[in-house]
């Protein structure tokens, strides 16, 4: 008895195993249902598979019978739901305003810092330019003096 070839001439084990789930739920056409049923009567391997699928289904159904610990505190009311939505919208609006304020603050601080940097840069440049001018003036005077000496 091979797993591939067992059963009636029209239905092989592989095909039967694929239909076991639907067979369990009685969701096959009458013709298919009877063919699977006939096959299961003669094939022990498929019968074992069928029993395993049935076990999985039975346990899952039992799981559904157990009422989970979801206790609806109060029944759903549109009034309360709308109130909650409004509250969450107000909360989000506040968060958005706060975020905007922080962003503005950061931007302002950054602008101020870069403005101060610019002032510093100008001062440095002015000081540097003065030095350069003084130095070049001295250098010119020295050159003139040396030229006079040479002459």
């Amino acid at each position: 008895m091979s797993f591939w070839g067992c059963g009636d001439e029209n239905m092989r084990c592989r095909e039967v195993v694929r239909k076991l789930s639907a067979f369990l739920d009685e969701e096959l056409s009458r013709e298919e249902y009877l063919r699977v049923q006939r096959h299961l009567e003669v094939c022990a391997l498929c019968r074992k598979e069928y029993e395993k699928f049935a076990l999985v289904r039975a346990v899952a159904r039992k799981l559904g019978d157990i009422t989970p610990r979801v206790v609806p505190g109060e029944s759903f009311s549109l009034e309360r739901a709308f109130r909650l939505v409004r509250r969450s919208r107000v909360l989000w609006a506040l968060v958005a305003v706060l975020g905007l304020f922080v962003a503005l603050l950061v931007f302002w601080g950054w602008q101020r810092a870069s403005f101060e940097d610019q002032i510093l840069d100008v001062e440095h440049f002015t000081a540097f330019s003065k030095d350069v001018l003084t130095q070049s003036k001295v250098r010119v005077e020295t050159l003139e003096f040396l030229a006079g000496e040479y002459r």
């Binding site: 694929r18 076991l20 789930s21 639907a22 739920d25 969701e27 074992k48 029993e51 395993k52 699928f53 076990l55 999985v56 289904r57 039975a58 346990v59 899952a60 159904r61 039992k62 799981l63 559904g64 157990i66 009422t67 989970p68 610990r69 979801v70 206790v71 609806p72 505190g73 029944s75 759903f76 009311s77 549109l78 739901a81 709308f82 909650l84 939505v85």
Partner: protein, 209 residues
């Protein structure tokens, strides 16, 4: 009530009073919600594995359902329509949560605590302490396997096996053909079966009386 063409017809009180006042629509909606709230909470719980998240999910699903109440096709059950909305919200949240996976250690601890209590709720039906302990263990293992399934397979298994939906109803909620539901469910069960085989070996078939 099923009409000759197979379309589920709803009772008079399930029909949305379109064109009437907002107050009437609200009253109608709240009556529908009362009927299916517990059911949806269970569904959300099995999807999320967490009571607080489940409540939050149901709340949002009802709100969205109310916002889009005029698109509700009253030929189909209200419960399935809200379930489909709930599933969509859950999928969107799952996508967002992928970014937060690095907090998984904390998350896992929270889930394990709930799981322990969850399996303990299985009542002893005069089977003896050993059998009930074994059954609880199997339930825990199956629950863990379902939790670990890829999202699409998990959705189908929760709907068909845990919630007891038919393939047709599940296909309505998920929004895919019945054939897809069938193949996903088969793959999900096969996955759980393999995990149980690996854990219990040949003793698997004797586990559940």
């Amino acid at each position: 009530m099923v009409s000759p063409n197979g379309v589920m017809r709803m009772a008079e009180e399930h029909v949305l009073p379109l064109g009437k006042t907002l107050e009437e629509e609200r009253a109608w909606f709240e009556a529908q919600v009362k009927e299916c709230e517990a059911h949806l909470l269970r569904f959300a719980y099995y999807l999320t594995g967490n009571a607080e998240r489940a409540k939050d999910l149901v709340q949002e699903a009802f709100l969205r359902a109310f916002q889009y109440r005029h698109s509700f096709d009253h030929r189909y059950p209200f419960e399935n329509w809200v379930s489909a909305i709930l599933l969509n919200i859950h999928r969107q949240r799952e996508k967002k949560d992928r970014f937060l996976k690095f907090f998984s250690a904390l998350w896992q601890a929270e889930r394990e605590d709930e799981e322990e209590d969850f399996a303990e709720q299985l009542e002893d039906e005069g089977e003896g302490p050993e059998t009930i302990a074994l059954k609880r263990q199997v339930i825990r293992d199956v629950y863990r396997c379902i939790e670990g399934l890829p999202p699409k397979m998990k959705e189908v298994m929760v709907l068909c096996d845990i919630m007891g939906y038919s393939y047709e109803e599940a296909s309505e909620v998920i929004g895919c053909p019945i054939g897809t539901v069938r193949s996903r469910l088969h793959r999900a069960r096969r996955y759980v079966k393999k995990a149980l085989e690996a854990a219990y070996g040949d003793e698997l078939l004797g586990l559940w009386g």
